[in-house]
């Protein structure tokens, strides 16, 4: 490292005191979708310029399930090649042993973040990861089409079903044969757990496993919600929806071939991108509510975090990078460019963000009321719980048994899995 670079680094970085005495070579994994990789590279370039470290991105598949399997394997093998991991909000309890405790390193900045998010990344008093952004899905709708047919934004899933069908049929009759009513994430993977949890919770059907560890999924409201979703396949949603993850469903939506779309906020900025056929023609609303006593609009809590591997050969530099990626500066850039929801409270009052990505300030309340997946009560068994749940839902959506039958089986499987305690 040249003296010149040292000077630049010293002048521009406050974190430098910790010690960028020599440049470190870091690696970070990324399963980013859309233009996420490009964005991350841009942020890392700034980091490199200010600290003199070098950061390599290791691209990963976008499916969080695929990523998890790989990371678990690497971490179990004590892999020293990856320094910083980007982790899904649900992974903290399962990977806690393999990451460094960031409590000390982050003690000055932890207060800026929403306490609930910090809590979700704290396992037995150890801060496993720092939040990079949070996520709560939206109902994307085509405002031009709803206006054209004089429809209002649906408040319940039943309304959505009816409106989607009507608009879809009318559009098809008008010659737009490719039009579909609603696309979502229906592949058998973690994303379906998110989507289905929303349906179930919105019908007052609980959240699969409750906070106290009791298994609540086998109930008539949950069955009703999933049966309704099953009725979409082949009617308002294409058969292929059974294999869609986020990006496939966004593909259909962003080509202008769907009236409604369920996705995370990242699809907002992409949908309004310069090359998007639907730019300016859509808007977002909270997901519809169900019907019944405890019906409400429910959004599954998502979000990504940065964690430092305990096998990193250069933990100090890696922690520096993690702090940088969760900093207000990067989160603001992320909000502006990627429409990812910040985890830093003050950014929701930021004028620049409100002007460029109006979804963000209005989403504060929604993510604060978002439903967590049962990763806390089920701990290391969460992945299997989730897999059993999405398999039961996928079977129902595929027409393989009714929701009531599949949920009964699911309850038995979950009880077996739980044993005496999670």
């Amino acid at each position: 490292m040249t003296l010149n670079k040292m000077l630049v680094a010293m002048l521009t970085s406050v974190t430098l005191v910790a010690g960028a005495a020599q440049a470190a070579e870091l690696s970070i994994v990324s399963g980013d979708t859309g233009n996420g990789l490009e964005f991350l590279r841009g942020q890392l370039d700034k980091f490199e310029a200010s600290t003199g470290h070098k950061v390599t991105i290791v691209p990963m598949p976008s499916s969080t399930t695929d990523q998890f399997g790989q990371y678990k394997l690497w971490l179990a093998a004590g892999n020293t090649d990856i320094d910083v991991y980007q982790t899904d909000v649900i992974w903290a309890p399962q990977l806690a042993d393999q990451f460094l405790d960031l409590t000390d390193a982050a003690k000055d900045v932890v207060g800026q973040h929403f306490p609930s998010i910090i809590e979700s990344q704290t396992v037995n008093g150890k801060l496993v990861a720092l939040p990079a952004f949070t996520d709560a899905p939206a109902l994307y709708y085509r405002k031009d089409l709803l206006e054209k047919y004089g429809k209002s934004v649906p408040k319940t899933w039943t309304e959505l079903t009816a409106t989607a069908k009507e608009v879809m049929d009318a559009e098809r009759a008008a010659g737009n044969a490719e039009m579909w009513g609603f696309v979502f994430q229906g592949n058998a993977y973690e994303g379906l757990t998110c989507d289905a949890l929303e349906w179930v919770k919105s019908y007052g059907g609980g959240q699969i496993v409750e906070a106290d560890g009791s298994i609540s999924i086998n109930n008539p409201q949950a069955a009703k919600a999933i049966d309704l979703a099953a009725s979409w396949i082949g009617t308002i949603s294409p058969q292929g929806n059974l294999a869609y993850m986020e990006e496939e469903s966004r593909g259909v939506w962003q080509l202008g071939n769907a009236v409604f779309h369920r996705n995370w906020p990242y699809a907002y900025s992409l949908g309004n991108g310069a090359d998007s056929p639907i730019a300016g023609k859509f808007d977002v609303a909270p997901l519809p509510a169900g019907e019944g006593p405890d019906a409400r609009s429910a959004a599954t809590l998502g979000g990504w975090n940065v964690a430092v591997s305990k096998y990193s050969p250069d933990p100090e530099a890696a922690i520096q990078l993690a702090l940088y990626l969760s900093s207000a500066e990067v989160q603001k850039e992320r909000a502006l460019n990627q429409s990812n929801l910040p985890t830093i409270q003050s950014l929701y009052d930021d004028a620049d963000i409100a002007a460029k990505q109006p979804i963000i300030p209005s989403w504060k309340e929604i993510f604060q009321n978002a439903v967590p997946r049962p990763s806390a009560p089920t701990q290391v068994k969460y992945n299997e719980v989730s897999s059993l749940f999405w398999s039961a839902v996928h079977a129902t959506l595929s027409g393989n048994g009714t929701a009531a039958q599949n949920l009964e089986g699911l309850e038995a499987d979950l009880t077996d899995l739980k044993g005496s305690a999670w």
């Binding site: 678990k72 993977y189 294409p238 058969q239 929806n241 059974l242 593909g251 992945n383 299997e384």
Partner: protein, 326 residues
């Protein structure tokens, strides 16, 4: 080199008295084999033994050292409940596992059957003399040369329900009344996987069969032609019996490969019970779930099932092969 050592060792087996020179050659041959045996033991033997060992423990991926011996618990265990009823648990009574076994075996048999027939057809065509045979031979190998992940991705785009070229062609030609979600629905997912696998591995089969075909002396056919034997009869009476050893080897290669199918299914179809195979399920348990030992038990069972099927195949093949002599 291997063939030479093999040949020499078989040659020396016949005379009872071994000369000094022969013994020296045998020693040299053994010496040459050592590096390969060591490599095999390290990359295949040791991991296999570890998997088998872990399948008898309660190992967890995050802490392999703390694994405790649990005997056959991962395969079968039972608890007698208060009512006196017995509850069985474990891999051997896991319906999800047997569903995966069925998926795999069904896939293996259907795909290998198609590949054998199509591979034979392709090999016969390539064996004939025609202009540009070299180019055709090279071209036909392309599917085999593409890495499976790449071809799976490629096919998943071609099979895509909204943007896929297959649906587009089908609609334009009037073959399909509506777009089909090939990989998504349980009814068509396995068919889609089979199509891609057959497309990919038929060239491999054809190549092995072609090698067998070229070993058949041409004068047999000349003699048959002079005797006025119908070409179809020539095929069944001359070609098929003579190419059979090569065909049997090709089939067993493919069968072993097909029974551990992973990549194609993992990339192409949703992770549902309709297409989940033994390897997919073992991987899921080993890494995604906190069930390293159970996943190891699956790997061990996978190994056992493949071994048993191979032995049965070789045994059945030999029975028919030696049938006339007995």
């Amino acid at each position: 080199m291997t063939t030479e050592t093999l040949a020499s060792s078989t040659r020396v087996a016949a005379p009872k008295v071994k000369s000094e020179l022969m013994q020296q050659r045998i020693r040299a041959a053994r010496l040459f084999l050592i590096p390969m045996l060591v490599a095999l033991a390290v990359v295949a033997g040791w991991p296999l033994l570890r998997s088998i060992y872990f399948s008898f423990t309660d190992a967890s991926l995050s802490n392999l050292e703390a694994a405790q011996w649990v005997g056959f618990g991962n395969y079968l265990r039972w608890t007698v409940m208060e009512s006196g009823a017995v509850r069985y648990r474990g891999l051997l009574v896991d319906p999800a596992w047997w569903n995966a076994v069925w998926n795999t075996v069904r896939f293996a048999f259907i795909s290998v059957a198609f590949e054998a027939v199509l591979g034979m057809v392709v090999a016969l065509v390539l064996n004939a003399e025609f202009k540009g045979r070299g180019i055709v031979r090279a071209a036909i190998l392309i599917p085999w040369a593409i890495p499976t992940i790449v071809s799976a991705r490629m096919w998943s785009w071609m099979l895509n329900d909204q943007f896929g070229i297959l649906n587009d062609l089908g609609m334009r030609l009037g073959l399909l009344s509506q777009k089909v979600a090939w990989t998504a629905t349980a009814d068509t997912a396995m068919t889609a996987v089979l199509i891609v696998d057959i497309w990919k591995t038929t060239p491999f089969m054809a190549l092995l069969i072609l090698a067998g075909l070229q070993m058949i002396p041409k004068d047999i056919y000349e003699a048959a032609e002079i005797d006025g034997v119908h070409p179809v009869k020539q095929f069944f009476k001359i070609t098929l019996p003579l190419v059979r050893p090569a065909l049997m080897v090709a089939i067993i290669f493919r069968l072993l490969d097909a029974l551990r199918i992973f990549d194609l299914i993992y990339v192409l179809t949703p992770n549902s019970s309709a297409t989940k195979t033994m390897s997919v399920m073992a991987r899921e348990n080993l890494f995604d779930f906190d069930k390293f030992a159970y996943g190891s038990a699956m790997s061990t069972m996978l190994f056992t099932i493949i071994a048993v099927l191979t032995i049965v195949y070789i045994w059945l093949g030999q029975v028919r092969f030696d049938g006339g002599d007995r």
